[in-house]
């Protein structure tokens, strides 16, 4: 067991964990933060994408011990005081989700993209989201949503 301290969506947690515990299972099974799902075992699908120390990561391919001392933001931490972020609003308004399983990861990846490139072209958006698979939307409305959000305030 290894002792870790991780701040998740603003709350600091201290736990003893097995070194092999994946960050995604730490979030879901230990902290009960089930907003972030798991979609694969090869880091292809991106459903589990969260922010770790300011950048997007696939939490199925990070050990909880690697996040020790770090700060994690998940989809559950995006809205502030009940106010949806521009990306969340755009996903809703542009119908950028159907079953919603890829949505947490897609939102986190899109947020990362806009941080690096506040006004991406449609092509840049597609490349920025290439690590996040969606089986429902054919991506077109996701691209539209990210474009719409980029024309608004850039998420912090």
């Amino acid at each position: 067991m290894t002792h870790i301290s991780v701040k998740v969506d603003g709350t600091t947690y201290q736990d003893e964990v097995e070194p092999r515990l994946l960050l995604i299972h730490y979030l879901r099974d230990r902290l009960g933060l089930s907003g972030t799902p798991i979609g694969c075992d090869t880091s292809n699908c991106g459903a589990c994408t969260v922010e770790l120390d300011g950048v997007s990561v696939k939490s199925c391919s990070v050990l909880a011990v690697q996040a020790d001392g770090g700060e994690v933001t998940t989809v559950e931490g995006l809205a502030e005081d009940g106010e949806l972020s521009a990306l969340q609003r755009a996903f809703h308004e542009k119908h950028a989700l159907q079953c919603g399983y890829c949505t947490p990861g897609m939102l986190m990846a899109a947020r990362d993209l806009l941080r690096e490139n506040p006004h991406p072209s449609a092509d840049e958006i597609r490349h920025g989201l290439e690590g996040n698979l969606c089986r429902c939307t054919g991506y077109q409305n996701i691209v539209r949503a990210v474009q719409a959000a980029s024309e608004q305030e850039v998420p912090a």
């Binding site: 070194p19 990070v62 990846a109």
Partner: protein, 286 residues
């Protein structure tokens, strides 16, 4: 799926890391955890069962890029994301920046590291062939100090590098390639898939002709390869036709695999076509 259990240590210096690897000793399978973007999927699929994982993610000296005369020295734990954006890399090793930008996806590039992907020695990875084309050198530190391994000696076999079990890859050194044209031509079926074949081309022009060309091949054998015959034939090429002719030799001496994504024959064909395209782009003669 779930990784198997392992012991874990997180050294804070290279010396400590090397000691941990050395202490693991004979028979105990220790794995170095860099960014984890190759290792964690392997663990999750239970294709690897290390007894000890040495996490080198908190060793500051392993990160960053510096100039050392005519060479760029890149810390093994520099992430792909940082490599792509590093001004020194972009200025002096544009090929590396360009190829690294094609690795996996943004989230993976945030965690994955240059050293990790080289030490993994996957011939389908993009960066081994690039470092090979750049005539890079890899610095390994073991219990008895440091040694320098030329890239051409580093990749021994499929997923096997020249690193000893108690050695840690600490730095990647690439000669500055200022003034060379470069291009990485990656051919894959979907954005996230490994390259069926990739070609890393570096071209130095002189007086309207190719003075020297270096061509690294991704996924054309058990290790990354140089297209030596094509390189030789490219010297002196002055136009697209000459490049095309010379590129016909790109698959000579390669032994590509036959697998679910392509036959060996098709890979050989791609090596020729993509070499032509990469060299054309790198030479500006296209």
């Amino acid at each position: 799926m779930i990784p198997p259990a392992f012991d874990y240590t997180r050294p804070t210096s290279v010396d400590e890391a090397v000691r941990a690897l050395a202490d693991a000793g004979e028979g105990e399978d220790a794995k170095v955890l860099a960014g984890g973007q190759s290792l964690l999927p392997l663990l999750r699929l239970r294709l690897a069962f290390p007894e000890l994982v040495v996490d080198v993610g908190r060793i500051p000296e392993l990160r960053g890029v510096r100039e050392d005369g005519d060479t760029l020295a890149i810390g093994a734990m520099t992430t792909h994301h940082d490599v792509v954006r590093d001004p020194l890399v972009r200025r002096h090793a544009g090929l590396l920046a360009a190829a690294t930008a094609t690795v996996a996806d943004p989230a993976v590039r945030h965690r994955g590291t240059l050293g990790g992907s080289l030490a993994h020695a996957d011939p389908a990875g993009d960066l081994p062939a690039v470092v090979l084309a750049l005539n890079g050198e890899l610095i390994a530190q073991g219990p008895h100090g440091r040694r320098t391994i030329a890239a051409r000696d580093f990749f021994v076999d499929y997923l096997q590098s020249a690193l000893e079990p108690d050695e840690l890859l600490v730095e990647v050194r690439v000669p500055k390639s200022d003034g060379w044209g470069f291009h990485y031509e990656k051919f894959h079926r979907v954005a996230q898939a490994y390259a069926i074949v990739g070609v890393a081309a570096l071209v130095r022009r002189d007086d309207g002709r190719i003075a020297e060309a270096r061509v690294g091949l991704t996924n054309m054998g058990a290790t990354p390869l140089r297209a030596a015959a094509a390189e030789e034939a490219l010297a002196g090429a002055a136009d697209a036709q000459a490049i095309a002719r010379a590129s016909d030799a790109a698959a000579e001496g390669t032994r590509p695999a036959q697998d679910v994504s392509a036959s060996a024959e098709y890979r050989e064909h791609l090596a020729r076509v993509l070499t032509q395209r990469a060299v054309l782009a790198a030479s500006g003669m296209g």
